[in-house]
């Protein structure tokens, strides 16, 4: 479990790595690598599902996209401008130089471009293997296989996955251009025309152009046009900060998209160890918070927070778990369920029938616990929250960590996840030192045995 914990902590870096290209353009609150991966995975999935060609394995596309930036944990992202840029791209004095560089596509010879690409690939390859080296074999083999396929880009699937990810960056560039005007959209357009070769990806790129550049409203009525609209809406989750962290005054609270990215990989890895259907798991994870595009991120504190509370009053409340009287909690939960159901129906309303129902079904699976995969991902969701809370607490010891520890012990019962929570427990105890009291394993076993004996006396089979 400790190798998994280490891997998950490293993944967290992708949630805070702001994308280099957007920093160069001086975008306000730019998307991070994890934000990009989240929407790229959804783009690859939904685009494949409406493709006019033979359908590829959508879960494999999603998984390939989920891992395609792993080396960036250590080596950061690269842009085609890298060889021309000053050393410190955040330096105020070089801003004008950068602006000038960005005005045209980098003038690098084809030979030089190829050489740089090969060099980068070699470094990525080495870094990737370093990152996954200590993972348990069953998951390492799967991730290694996906990486090898993606890196060679010889299969239709790997080309589709890679170009889907590039297309997400293009879509984001156009969205920033429309919002802030800072992005050179014509250069981006030229670049995508040169580099994206898959016919259906090109078709979708043209649809994006019609809607976002030509502002042709009629195009939005086609299936591909609806996909553009859907992805625009889903993109809002990149900037929607998670309410629980905002209330707890976390520094740099993560976005819903970042949380979903981490949850997708964590539930995939842990689900694999449990022998579950991880193809279904990654899709459930990607779909689970889509309703928040319209319903927002609601928290169990909502019923007890008055709108006029100031920051200090809120902080006082979130230092303890939200214990709401049973009847009041039921009313809130039913209302929340209804709002979220309406939101997911609205978000998917104009998608093709098959895709719409697939997304709704996956969303329902985690809500209602229909399959063992749905029930598992629901518990991973709780565990990811504790994991993230610990990360905030490590950086700021004033972060109210106590409620997350208490609630995890009420909400998770899966043996694999409980083992992982034990691992978190150990790490937390080492970090805190202030909580040295630890029960010995033998005592815990004795206690369990005693409880089991008493449980049995209250049963009838």
């Amino acid at each position: 479990m400790s190798s998994l914990l280490d891997f998950f902590i490293k993944l967290g870096k992708l949630k805070t790595n702001k994308r280099k290209g957007w920093i160069l353009y001086d975008i306000k609150d730019p998307a991070t690598t994890a934000d990009h991966i989240f929407r790229a995975a959804i783009l690859g999935w939904v685009l494949n599902s409406v493709s006019d060609k033979k359908k590829l394995n959508d879960a494999r596309i999603i998984k390939s996209i989920l891992i395609h930036h792993l080396p960036d944990i250590y080596i950061g992202e690269e842009t085609p401008y890298d060889s021309l840029l000053p050393e410190d791209i955040s330096s105020e004095k070089d801003k004008d130089i950068i602006k000038k560089i960005l005005k045209k596509l980098p003038q690098v010879s084809a030979g030089m471009e190829r050489k740089r690409a090969v060099q980068r690939q070699q470094v990525e390859e080495k870094t990737f293997h370093k990152i996954v080296a200590k993972l348990p074999n069953q998951i390492k083999e799967e991730i290694d296989g996906l990486w090898a396929e993606l890196n060679k880009r010889r299969t239709s699937l790997s080309k589709f996955a890679w170009e889907s990810a590039k297309l997400e960056s293009y879509l984001q560039a156009l969205e920033y251009w429309r919002k802030e005007g800072k992005v050179q959209h014509k250069l981006w357009n030229k670049w995508t025309k040169k580099n994206l070769k898959e016919s259906f990806i090109i078709k979708f790129r043209k649809e994006i152009d019609k809607i976002l550049i030509e502002k042709n409203k009629k195009c939005g009525e086609s299936i591909l046009g609806e996909l553009v609209r859907f992805l625009n809406e889903v993109g809002k989750l990149k900037s929607l900060k998670r309410t629980g962290w905002v209330l707890a005054q976390a520094k740099r609270p993560e976005s819903v998209a970042q949380h979903t990215f981490q949850m997708a990989i964590m539930s995939w890895v842990l689900g694999k160890m449990k022998g579950l259907d991880t193809d279904r798991i990654v899709k459930i994870a990607l779909a689970h918070d889509l309703c928040e595009v319209y319903a927002g991120d609601q928290t169990p504190y909502d019923p007890i927070l008055a709108p006029n509370y100031n920051k200090e009053e809120i902080y006082k409340i979130v230092r303890k778990p939200a214990r709401v009287p049973h009847s009041q909690r039921l009313v809130w939960l039913m209302k929340k369920k209804e709002t979220e159901w309406k939101a997911v129906v609205r978000l998917t309303s104009l998608l093709p029938k098959e895709l719409r129902e697939e997304i709704i079904n996956l969303w329902l699976d985690i809500e209602e616990g229909i399959t063992k995969e749905g029930r598992f991902v629901a518990q991973v969701d709780k565990m990811v929250n504790l994991f993230q809370a610990i990360e905030y607490w490590k950086k700021d010891k004033k972060f109210p960590i106590m409620p997350w520890w208490i609630l995890i012990k009420e909400r998770v019962d899966d043996p694999i996840l409980l083992k992982f929570v034990d691992e978190l427990d150990r790490e937390f105890a080492i970090e805190s030192k202030r909580f040295p009291e630890k029960i010995r394993a033998s005592e815990r076993r004795n206690e369990r045995g005693r409880n089991r004996g008493k449980v049995n006396s209250g049963l009838a089979s």
Binding site: K320, P321, R323, W341, R426
Partner: protein, 157 residues
């Protein structure tokens, strides 16, 4: 389905699963005859069955899962009157934890829904409460220790 774990069900939980099993089998027969209703994503659709309408594999695997559950479950019965002061499966327990009051019903993993106050007997808190009596303080161990004081135990099953 993890058969190494005991499957505990309340009477109400059993009734729901039996009903679901019947409904899904009916849906399967209708699909075989190709007269299954087509679904529309609207609020009128019962979400419980929407997931199965267009996914035969999912429908089949859920039916198999339900068959395993219905063959292997153990029913949670309230204990005899003399034991009502002790926490067994199926108990609704009012506890005080860190100065706050809360109410849990302890159920099997399948019926657990902590947001609705139903916690699993296999969760650390569920496990710790089982076998304890009114007035007892139950310590749940972790890096942060939490203490649950049992204030009231009822059996509403």
């Amino acid at each position: 389905m993890d058969l190494e774990r005991e499957i505990y069900l309340t009477k109400e939980g059993l009734r729901k699963l039996e009903q679901e099993y019947e409904e899904l089998n009916n849906l399967k027969s209708r699909k075989a005859k190709e007269d299954a209703p087509t679904t529309v994503a609207s609020l009128e659709v019962d979400p419980e069955y929407l997931a199965f309408q267009d996914d035969l594999n999912l429908l089949e695997s859920r039916i198999v899962e339900l068959e395993i559950i219905l063959k292997n479950y153990k029913l949670i019965d309230p204990p005899g009157k003399g034991a009502h002061k002790e926490v067994f499966l199926g108990a609704t327990v009012i506890v005080e934890v860190e100065g706050q009051e809360d109410e849990f019903t302890i159920v099997g993993s399948l019926e657990a829904n902590p947001m609705f106050g139903k916690i699993s007997n296999e969760s650390p808190v569920g496990r710790a409460l089982l076998g304890r009596k009114i007035g007892e303080e139950v310590k749940v161990q972790s890096a942060i220790v939490s203490i649950y004081k049992i204030k009231k135990i009822t059996y509403r099953l």
